[in-house]
């Protein structure tokens, strides 16, 4: 039995093609994945991301607990509303999940985690809280829905659809959030475009969704979300990072704070220099599409594609790969695609940001 978000019947009514995504029955597309992709790059599109789980962490020692639990340093969060992207690591440095943590007040942080890993994460946080004798409490918020509105015109469409939102978000900086009544509005996303992620009571989700449709925002499925995030060079948990690799091997060194003296779970495992790195690839010849698990050959040794797709913006096939150190942008590697070795050019992600090609 698949789980359903509060917007499930809205998707069904709209004729969405539904798929099992981490145990959730979610829209893959509403007709054309590629047109939905272009809508986000050129105008405004929205995604139901209610399968992701907000967890509220409340208590006097909430910051101290997160300082130890997360690989990135919550001390970077100085002003209320500020968000931080971080990995949650195991003691051996493997990635349990990636998440965003919002600083609301010294006693109140909100953590948003992936759908398929949500239960594992809650259990992990609880175990860690017991071990650290933390006084903070964890409150998983399955009562909330989340709608991501993304694209160059996303913000003005939200202002049109949600009364009062303009006044509180017009000056909102990227990677910060604010509260509007029961709506929590963050200027974040997973597409490489401007926009908001709006967290709200599940009972109000369908009404906001309809208001956004009326304001001209195109419903988009998880298919477009995947091609958009890959063009933006963003990792997908379970593919580009897993419990088997450290963040340093998945292009996430920038999210790990090794500079401060604080201790955190997994820190000691990150002392050794990694032997593998993440790179971006662009297929240099027609002949197929890069896909996860394809083998990559370089002079420095073999690697593997972790995510691959056809990029609607570039009209080329792009991918992320984990390859040995020594591979550098500009190199041409060979990728095994259905038994044929095809050339692929190494680039530094992202491929696309704010509608523009970067590679």
């Amino acid at each position: 039995m698949l789980l359903e978000t509060q917007l499930h019947s809205v998707h069904r009514t709209a004729g969405a093609k539904m798929v099992d995504f981490g145990g959730w029955d979610m829209p893959l597309h509403y007709g054309s994945q590629i047109e939905e992709h272009h809508a986000v790059r050129r105008d405004a599109g929205m995604f139901d991301v209610s399968h992701m789980l907000p967890i509220d962490l409340e208590g006097a020692d909430a910051r101290a607990f997160l300082r130890y639990a997360l690989a990135n340093n919550v001390d970077k969060l100085a002003t209320p509303g500020k968000a931080l992207y971080s990995c949650l690591l195991k003691p051996d440095g493997g990635v349990l999940d990636d998440l965003i943590v919002y600083f609301l007040s010294e006693k109140d942080f909100r953590i948003v985690v992936n759908a398929a890993t949500a239960e594992k994460d809650v259990a992990w946080f609880k175990g860690l809280a017991a071990e650290r004798a933390s006084e903070s409490t964890l409150r998983p918020r399955r009562d909330l829905a989340m709608i991501a509105v993304q694209g160059p015109h996303a913000r003005e469409r939200v202002w049109q659809a949600l009364p009062g939102s303009r006044a509180v978000t017009e000056a909102l900086k990227p990677f910060t959030a604010t509260q509007l009544g029961e709506h929590f509005i963050a200027r974040t996303g997973y597409t490489g475009e401007d926009g908001f992620e709006i967290t709200l009571p599940g009972t109000q989700a369908a009404a906001l969704w309809r208001a956004l449709v009326n304001a001209g925002v195109r419903p988009c499925g998880l298919g477009a979300r995947d091609t958009l995030r890959l063009e933006a060079g963003m990792n997908l948990y379970g593919q580009d990072m897993t419990e088997r690799e450290t963040p340093l091997e998945s292009g996430l060194a920038w999210t790990v704070d090794l500079a401060s003296p604080r201790d955190f779970v997994g820190k000691s495992a990150l002392a050794a220099k990694p032997t593998r790195q993440q790179v971006g690839l662009i297929l240099a010849e027609k002949g197929g599409v890069l896909r996860s698990h394809q083998v990559v050959h370089s002079n420095a040794g073999e690697g593997e594609i972790t995510s691959g797709t056809f990029s609607p913006t570039l009209s080329e096939s792009i991918g992320l790969a984990r390859v040995p150190l020594g591979v550098a942008p500009g190199d041409v590697l060979k990728v095994d695609i259905r038994g044929k070795p095809l050339p692929a050019r190494v680039v530094k992600p992202p491929f696309v940001r704010n509608g523009k090609r970067l590679v």
């Binding site: 298919g223 002949g287 896909r291 056809f310």
Partner: protein
Amino acid sequence: MNVPSNLRYTESHEWIRTETDGSLTIGITDHAQEALGDLVFIELPAVGRKLKAGEACAVVESVKAASDVYAPVAGEVIAANGEIVDAPEKVNADAYANWLYRLKPADGATPAKLLDAAAYTKLVSEA
């Protein structure tokens, strides 16, 4: 679902039309394009290539997945539709107008186990 009654079908979701000269025109069904989603890459067999019955001879690939296309009968490829190689989305727009390749069956070869429209409709509605 669009399943024209003048065509024959395979269980692997190809459609086949027998031309007046006995050659076969082969494409993928509307159900197949729908299931794959937006097509972004198509590879077709070279003209002159000899195929065995059931041999994988073409590839249709969407944003989501790649799928092989099989020869319904042994024979020789006599034409390939280059137009769809440059514009795979045409197959999404009309899977029956935009054929993949044409095959001249080998002497005495007859396609095994082709379905008529009713049988194919039943197959995909039960899937």
